[in-house]
Symmetry: C2
Subunit: 260 residues, 2 copies
């Protein structure tokens, strides 16, 4: 089952994805819902981030080649994380499928994509075990962890490097069934495939993170956990169209624009 | 004017503070509200965090002696921030006035308080100027940035060191009028005053942060910005009662407890 969230008649509305149609509901996938009988065609939808999380978790370093390449870019030896320490991103930066990534006037040329698997929490969870951890998930979606590398290197925190408005496209929808071991993540820019990796080839996997986080922290419905990216990205330019594709979920598409 | 948020008949409810009474309203201070005619005495209230922010901003290093002492504890020279780079905390960790700070079983002895001024955003804001920055504020409250220093030093991020459930008490209420230059922050543990500083003696002030953040980021009603702390804290023990007092706002009180 696939859950989209769209702007409809001025309101954020959840919808069930049924082929090319989005069947609108009242309520949300996190609680009770009821189909309204109204549908919107996918091609005419105004897509929103499929959820606005109470807390936005994000794994920074979780794939081998990405860590090696990031270290090399800094002239350092790679250091691999020894435990699943999670980080945070900010809700202001979220945007939806087919919405623009808007570059502020003072960005440098080093604006890059990062294609990521996103876990969406469905039920409140604390003290999860390896056996029951996945039960708290509603499903999975796709994130593009857009990053301004000059600011990432110069600032004490990643506030503007990663959390500038529109720098966190998420979508297109939440897929409730996914064979994670069979999934490939592919990033295309203007149709050219630049990165392909096995989505589940993580240093610490979804279960590792869910168990570790909930030893101290209560996850609640709507929280999201972005799982990190693999590979080394190229710079994006105004006009570029980024597709992030994960097998079994779909494709998140966003165009890079300059701020007005 | 002072805005509290309490648990009343099973629901989170805003209330206007009127001496010892909390006058309940429907709605919120961020939009329309109406007094219900029902009051609850302060001494019998179940206090909640006065707001659950969409994004929870927090300044890490913003007072001179705190930066010097933290560097000395690491055996390093102090480095003072050169620009207002903001960080993040997590909503799961928030709790209210008179609610317990609950220590997980595996914390070390190095659990410490940090008394902080908190700005509460009242209206959507982007591209603020020095002249209009403060207009976006609803008011101010108090935060205790409880920190487990062993985890803060060992982990790659501050996820559990600062964001374990209940590690972010906030309250007791939002004060809409404050003479910031006249304010003193005082921290007491079991009634003994351990820290006192001029609240506004910051390296980068409220206006600096609001202007910098909104160059890239849209602030929205309910967002909070914790402004950092001064001085060097002592370790807390189970049973300790921490008061954080800011002149003109009030006192945030929380007791340290062991997890059940």
């Amino acid at each position: 089952m696939r859950w989209a969230r769209i702007q409809h008649e001025g309101k954020a509305t959840y919808a069930v994805v049924a082929d090319e149609q989005l069947r609108l509901v009242t309520g949300t996938p996190f609680g009770e819902y009821r189909e309204t009988g109204v549908s919107v065609a996918q091609h005419s939808a105004h897509w929103l981030s499929p959820v606005i999380p109470p807390t936005f978790y994000c794994v920074g370093l979780n794939y081998t080649a990405h860590i090696e390449m990031a270290a090399r870019a800094r002239g350092q030896e790679p250091v691999f994380p020894s435990q699943p320490d999670v980080g945070y991103r900010a809700v202001n930066a979220l945007t939806g499928h087919h919405q623009p990534i808007v570059l502020p006037p003072d960005v440098t040329e080093k604006v890059q994509y990062e294609g990521e698997l996103v876990c969406v929490i469905g039920t409140e969870a604390k003290h999860l075990t390896r056996a029951n951890a996945l039960d708290c998930l509603l499903g999975f979606t796709i994130g593009n962890d857009v990053s301004e590398r000059t600011w990432q290197a110069s600032d004490r925190t990643m506030w503007r490097a990663k959390n500038t408005d529109t720098f966190k496209p998420m979508g297109p929808w939440i897929e409730t069934e996914l064979d994670l071991d069979a999934a490939l993540t592919r990033v295309r820019v203007n149709g050219e495939e630049l990165i392909e990796f096995n989505t589940n080839d993580m240093l610490f996997g979804v279960v590792d993170y869910l168990v570790a986080i909930t030893q101290y922290i209560t996850l609640v419905p709507g929280d999201v956990l972005w799982m990190g990216t693999e590979g080394h990205a190229k710079n994006l330019q105004v006009g570029d169209v980024v597709d992030i594709d994960i097998t079994g979920i779909g494709t998140l598409t966003n165009r890079v624009e300059a701020s007005a």
